[in-house]
């Protein structure tokens, strides 16, 4: 929706051609109070339609376009003609610059009142926070050698940056090392986690996507940093069983809310169902020690001694026992089961398999000496998959399979999902 607004504003302002963006009425508030203002054209003449359009037959849509718009009450086609021909008002002709503020730099009150102020102003994830006093933030900043005033990056509720290839969907807010440290304090992180959080922040990738798909984000963390900060990659690796696993994702979320203006329902968050993995994201510290293969970051070109965080996005991860293909047998054929499940995945984000060390070792014994060999074996054919054969790959993504090893060795379980790894960032640059 925001993309249509962005394209139309560019056509109006750069090409001098009048436009009418068509948007479903559920987005009226978002468009009127946020997008058109933030993109610099509050008067953009939008025509709102009855939702949904997708899934309707031509006969239904034929009726809709000669019915009243749910926002203006005018007949849709009549309004479109009027939007293209009615002269601009003085208000619509305004140009200039509007400076924006994100509010006061400090807040002074009792601790309980501050908790309430932060919550009511949507500066939290609706859970209690550690209040970021100057002292606590100074302590957090000891976790990095970088200057507190250094600008780390820019973030928005959608990653598309303005440029030759994409229209900007949401405005990008900027933030410093100190801003990242403040959010890390609030999340309950320790100073030694700060380089990881700064590395994530440096990508500008939001933890809470605006998409109505209800995406979640994830991290794969490799290298010596795992033991240095106590990340859990043993039993319960994907769960809340260590301070580092529990707070790094939360810090990313809080940074996204506060420094990227993400997660505001109705404007910068539109996930239809929502995703419980958004609470803390999917945090995976790889169990490199018990894996039979090269670590994930080494396969991406880093040295084993590098500490690296890889950002992922997608639908999330769940147990492979959820699949009808996963059955208990006396003699398991893990690679065969894996192939069936991988081939059953939607191709938008490809497939990610999170294997426990025993499963990974079984698969190696089946003859897969490297992950590359396994991924080649698992590669889904373009035909015969679920969905239409030779279906067009949306958004230019390509099917991919990613294998990560983590967790305990106390049983043969594994998980899977649609999560696509994106950027890998060297944490060591942020120490």
């Amino acid at each position: 929706m925001a993309a249509v607004v962005g394209h139309c504003i560019n056509i109006e302002s750069k090409l001098g051609v009048p436009t009418v963006p068509l948007i479903i009425s559920e987005f009226y508030e978002q468009v009127k109070t946020h997008h058109t203002i933030q993109k610099g054209m509050p008067g953009l003449r939008v025509t709102y339609l009855v939702s949904p359009v997708w899934g309707k037959k031509a006969e239904q849509i034929r009726k809709d376009i000669v019915s009243k718009s749910p926002v203006s009450g005018k007949m849709v086609m009549q309004e479109i003609v009027e939007n293209l021909t009615k002269p601009l008002t003085a208000e619509e002709k305004k140009t200039g610059t509007i400076e924006q503020s994100s509010g006061p730099a400090t807040f002074t009150d009792t601790p309980d009142n501050l908790q309430r102020i932060f919550l009511e102003n949507r500066m939290t994830d609706y859970m209690p926070i550690i209040l970021p006093t100057e002292e606590k933030v100074a302590e957090m900043l000891k976790g990095t050698s970088h200057d507190p005033d250094e600008v780390v990056g820019k973030m928005a509720a959608h990653t598309a940056m303005p440029g030759e290839n994409n229209v900007e969907v949401f405005e990008h807010w900027s933030y410093t090392v100190k801003t990242v440290a403040i959010n890390a304090v609030m999340a309950g992180a320790k100073p030694e986690y700060l380089p990881v959080i700064l590395a994530i922040a440096s990508t500008g990738k939001e933890a809470i996507s605006v998409s109505d798909n209800s995406f979640t984000e994830g991290l794969i963390i490799n290298g010596p940093i795992r033991d240095e900060i106590g990340l859990n990659y043993g039993i319960g690796a994907l769960g809340p069983f260590s301070q580092a696993n529990s707070t790094i994702g939360r810090a990313w979320n809080l940074l996204s809310i506060n420094a990227g203006n993400c997660g505001r329902v109705g404007t910068t968050y539109m996930g239809v169902i929502g995703n419980p993995m958004n609470w803390n994201d999917v945090i995976i510290a790889e169990n490199e020690e018990d894996s039979p293969w090269q670590p994930f970051h080494v396969r991406r070109g880093f040295k084993p001694s590098d500490s690296v965080v890889t950002l992922c996005e997608g639908w999330g991860i769940l147990s492979a026992k959820n699949s009808k293909y996963s059955v208990w047998e006396r003699e398991m054929n893990f690679s065969g089961t894996l192939k069936k499940i991988v081939n059953d995945q939607d191709m938008l984000f490809g497939a990610m398999a999170v294997l426990s060390p025993p499963v990974a070792n079984y698969i190696k014994e089946e003859g897969f000496e490297t992950v590359e060999e396994l991924e080649k074996f698992l590669a889904p054919p373009m035909e015969g998959r679920s969905g239409p054969p030779k279906a067009k790959i949306p958004f230019g993504f390509r099917p991919q399979i990613n294998i990560v090893v983590t967790g305990g060795s106390n049983n043969n379980y594994w998980s899977y999902g649609g999560m696509a790894p994106r950027q890998s960032v060297l944490i060591d640059n942020w120490r």
Binding site: S102, D112, D212, N261
Partner: protein, 133 residues
Amino acid sequence: MKRHISITLIALLFLGLFYIYPGFKTPIQAQGQPGEQKITVLSPRGQPPPIQLKQMAPRLDSLNRKTVYLVNDGYLGTDILLGEMQAWFKANMPEVTTIYKMKGGMGGFTAEDPALWAEIKEKADAVIMGMGH
């Protein structure tokens, strides 16, 4: 009886110690009663960019003998919607020329399509674009 009294006294003594122990917040204090010490904390927010107001395009006197581009941004069902709008123009405003275009570019809805933008600049008098879903 004596035993009951002793237990009660021990319990009261324990509770008393508990409540006067420095640093322990009583339920009353925890509700933020007057007298609770105020502290200063830092804002966690980033810096939003300034807004540059952009010039809207001048409107047309009428659509009579004008060319309107109907641009599909790629969302499901938009082809049907714009097709119906094209049919409406043909039936109700036959003097309007409508041209249906599918926006291209790699990256989905946000992708730029420089070739289409150039064509619109050269040939279009107006654009209707959908679908914001």
